[in-house]
Symmetry: C2
Subunit: 257 residues, 2 copies
C-alpha cells in the first residue's frame, strides 16, 4: 500500500528548511565536507559525545567549563582560538576515546541549531562514512524524513545533495517521495555512484575546490567513502550520541550543557 | 583567458535569490510550467506586450483600466475573476496579435517582481520554447548571468532546473561557472537531453503530476519543446516586450502601468 508509507523530502539548503514540517519527522542533518563526517568518525572512535555549538565563543567557553576538547572551523580552516579543526583524521581512537568534543562549523552546526529552532524533535546526522547506519535507521523507524543539507552559506552544494541521493537510493522503496529536490538528488547520485570522488572532482564542486586548495584532498576522499565510521549519531539534550547509547540513557558520563 | 569571462549562477528557488548580486547581471526568470513558456508564446504570436503582475486583484483592475486581456492561474488552474488561464494554447496569433496581455501566476510573476525588488536591472524570461533566443542573447551580452528558477512555492522543481541546465549547456564555454547549483542543473540536463518530456514524466516531477491531473499533458509537452516560440522577452518599464522591440522604444502602443 503506497499510501501507508511515510513521506520523504529533501531540503537542499537551510534557506528552504522552513518549507518543511520538521516536528513529526526524523531530520537528517547533512554536512558531508566535513562536519557530519567528522562527527560520525569521532563517535565511531569512542568519543563520549559530540556537543555541536553555533559559535566559536560558545565553543571556547564550554571547553573551559568542562575540560572538553574544543574544535571547529570557519570557511574551511581551524577557527581562531580553537585547538582542533574539522578534519576526521584528527579524531583517531587514541586521541578521542572517552572524551567529549565540542564542535562548531560554518554550516553543519548552524543547521543543526536551526533544525532545533524549527521544531525538530528527532535529529540524526548523516554522511557517507555512516551512510548505512542512517538508511537502516530510517527504514526501521517508519516515520516521515527530512534530509536537510547544510550547503555552503545557504548556497546549494553538490556533496550534500549527493549524500541525500545516496540515502534515497537506499530507502526509496519504503517511502512516498513526491519531492523534486529528492528526485534531482537521486538522479545525481545515480550518475555519481560508480565513483563519487571522481564525480565531485570532475564537477569542480565549490567546496571541493576550497578544501583541495588547503591540501585537504585526503579529507575529501575519506568524507566521500561509504560506511567507514558506520554508527548513527542521535541528537539528545544538546549532545550527539551513538544511537544505541542514546536509547540506553544514563549510562554515559556526559557533561551538562 | 578564463578569468575574463563573466560569471554564471543558478538560483534553484526564489528562497535563494537574495544570495546573488542581481544588480549588474542579466537575470533570466524561469517558470517552464507554464508562465514563461506562455509569455514567449504570446509575444511570439504577436502580442504587443505582456504585463506581469503579482496579484489577481491587480490583474483585474489593470484589465478594466486598459481593456487588455487578463489572464492568470493559481495552483495550476484559471484564477477566479479572470477570463483566461496560463496555457500557451490560449494565445494563438488569431487571438493575441496586437493585444496586451496582463498575466498573474503562482510562481513566475511573483519571482519577476522579487527580482525587481532585489535590484535587478536587466530581466529576460526563459523557457524551452525560447531556449536558443536566451542562449544567443547571453553569449552576445557578455555580462554576468543569474538563472532564476521560479520553483513551486519556493520548493525546487525539476523542470526549471532542467531549463537552467539547458541554458548552461548552450553557453558554458563563454562563462566562469563556479556554482554547484549550476553543475547540478547541467548534469541533470545531460541525463534528460535525449528526451526531456520522458525524463520529467519518468521522474514524476511534482508539477508534472499536478498539471497532468488537470488533463494538461499537451501543455507540458509543448512547454518542454525547445525553440517553438523562439523570441526573447525583455522586461522594460513594467512590461515584457520582444527584445528587438525593446531596443526600438516608442514604436509600440503600450498601455501605461
Amino acid at each position: 500500500m503506497k499510501e501507508n508509507k511515510p513521506e520523504l523530502y529533501t531540503s537542499l539548503s537551510p534557506a528552504m528548511l522552513h518549507l518543511y514540517d520538521l516536528n513529526q519527522a526524523i531530520v537528517v542533518v547533512i554536512d558531508v565536507l566535513r562536519a557530519t563526517s567528522t562527527i560520525a568518525t569521532a563517535l565511531h572512535n569512542g568519543a563520549s559525545c559530540v556537543i555541536p555549538v553555533d559559535s566559536v565563543e560558545r565553543c571556547i567557553s564550554l571547553g573551559k567549563l568542562t575540560g572538553a576538547i574544543t574544535a571547529g572551523e570557519r570557511d574551511g580552516r581551524i577557527a581562531e582560538g580553537l585547538q582542533h579543526g574539522n578534519s576526521p583524521f584528527e579524531y583517531q581512537r587514541s586521541f578521542i576515546e572517552n572524551k567529549t568534543l565540542v564542535l562548531t562549523t560554518t554550516n553543519g552546526t548552524r543547521l543543526l541549531q536551526m533544525a532545533v529552532d524549527n521544531g525538530a524533535e528527532t535529529i540524526v546526522t548523516g554522511s557517507f562514512p555512516n551512510l548505512t547506519a542512517v538508511t537502516n535507521h530510517l527504514i526501521a523507524q517508519n516515520k516521515d524524513v527530512i534530509l536537510a543539507c547544510a550547503a555552503w552559506k545557504d548556497r546549494v552544494n553538490l556533496e550534500d545533495a549527493l549524500f541525500a541521493g545516496a540515502v534515497i537510493d537506499g530507502v526509496m522503496e519504503h517511502f512516498n517521495i513526491n519531492c523534486d529536490a529528492s528526485s534531482m538528488a537521486h538522479a545525481l547520485f545515480i550518475q555519481a555512484k560508480p565513483d563519487i570522488y571522481a564525480f565531485v572532482k570532475n564537477k569542480q564542486a565549490s567546496h571541493y575546490l576550497r578544501l583541495s586548495r588547503y591540501g585537504l584532498e585526503k579529507d575529501i576522499q575519506y568524507c566521500l567513502t561509504p560506511d567507514i565510521a558506520n554508527i548513527l549519531p542521535v541528537y539528545t539534550n544538546g549532545k550527539l550520541l551513538v544511537s544505541t547509547c542514546a536509547t540506553a540513557s544514563g549510562e554515559h558520563h556526559l557533561v551538562d550543557v
